[in-house]
Amino acid sequence: MKSLAELQAIKEKMQNKVALRDGSGEMRVVVGMATCGIAAGARPVLSTFVEEIAKENLANKVTISQTGCIGICQFEPVVEIMEAGKEKVTYVQMTPEKAKRVVEEHIKGGKVVAEFTLANKA
C-alpha cells in the first residue's frame, strides 16, 4: 500500500530538484478547464500531459496549469503552449492521443504539430 512515508521520500527528492528548476522553467502548458472544457473532454487531456511529461522526465522544463474559459468553447478542449521568446501555440479539439503527439513532437522535439492548431482550423 502507498504510505505517507513514500510521500516523504518524494519531498526529499524534490527539494534537491527545486534549485535546479529555478530559471529554467522553459515551457508552460495551459489546459482550459471551465465547464465547456470539462464537458468536451479536457480532464483526460490534462491527465495525459501530466503522465507523459513525468514519464519523459520533462518535469524540469515544463509546468502545467489550468485556466478558465477563454471564449472559444466550440474548440474545446483547448491547450496553449507558451515558451519564452516564442509565439503562443493554441491547440484545439484535443484528445489524449493528440496530447501524446504534442508532448513527443512539440515539447520534446521542438516542432509545432500544425494540424492540431487553431490557426489550422481558422
Binding site: M1, K2, L4, E6, L7, Q8, I10, K11, K13, M14, Q15, V18, M33, A34, T35, C36, I38, A39, R43, P44, L46, S47, V50, E51, I53, A54, A59, I64, S65, Q66, G68, C69, I70, G71, C73
Partner: protein, 183 residues
C-alpha cells in the same frame, strides 16, 4: 456531462474560485442512492445570487453570459427523480461562518442516472489545478470508504507543492489502491 465525476470537478472548481481554503467532497452510496455533497468555506453568495444560480443565464464567467455548471448538475440529479439543493452564507453577512453547500441526490437505478466515472482523475485534476487550496475527499459505499485529505499530505510535503508531477501521480495511485481494496 458524460460522467458524474466531471460535474464534481466542475462544481468543486467553483469553490476554489470562491476563495475556499477547504473544499469537502463527500460521495455516499447505498444500494439505490448516491448522494453528493460539496461544501466549502469560500466567500459564499447573497440571497439574490443564490436564487438565480440554477439559471443558466447566471454566471461568473466574463467571456459570455451563460454558465452551465450548476444547472447541469441539478438537471443530472432531477433526471433520476433525485433532488438538488444549494445553500450559502455570504462572507459579508456571516464573516465567521461563510461558504456554500451543494447537495445532489441521485437514484442509481434510474435509467437516466449518469455513471460516476473516473472520480480519481477528477480529484487529481482538481488538486493539480489548485495546489494551494485544500480538499477533503471521502467516498463511502456499502463495502467501505476511500479518503484523501490534502492537509495531511501538505504536512508531510512541507514546501514541496501538491502539483509536483510525482505528487500528483502518487495521489492517483494512493486513491487507486483504496478503490481496489473496495472491490
Amino acid at each position: 456531462m458524460k460522467e458524474l465525476s466531471l460535474n464534481i470537478l466542475d462544481i468543486s472548481k467553483n469553490s476554489v474560485k470562491a476563495g475556499a481554503e477547504l473544499t469537502e467532497i463527500y460521495i455516499t452510496e447505498d444500494a439505490s442512492t448516491l448522494t453528493l455533497e460539496i461544501k466549502d468555506n469560500g466567500c459564499g453568495m447573497k440571497k439574490e445570487m443564490l436564487d438565480s444560480v440554477t439559471d443558466p443565464f447566471t454566471t461568473t464567467r466574463t467571456t459570455r453570459p451563460v454558465g452551465m455548471g450548476i444547472p447541469l448538475l441539478k438537471l443530472a440529479a432531477e433526471m433520476t427523480e433525485g433532488s438538488f439543493r444549494i445553500t450559502s452564507r455570504s462572507e459579508s453577512e456571516y464573516p465567521e461562518n461563510h461558504g456554500t453547500e451543494v447537495t445532489a441526490v441521485f437514484n442509481k437505478n434510474h435509467i437516466d442516472f449518469t455513471p460516476l466515472g473516473d472520480v480519481i482523475s477528477s480529484i487529481t485534476t482538481l488538486i493539480q489545478g489548485s495546489p494551494n487550496a485544500d480538499f477533503l475527499f471521502n467516498h463511502t459505499t456499502e463495502k467501505g470508504e476511500v479518503t484523501l485529505d490534502t492537509r495531511e499530505l501538505r504536512a508531510v510535503l512541507g514546501d514541496v507543492s501538491l502539483d509536483t508531477f510525482e505528487v500528483i501521480l502518487w495521489i492517483q495511485d494512493y486513491l487507486k489502491e483504496q478503490y481496489e481494496a473496495l472491490k
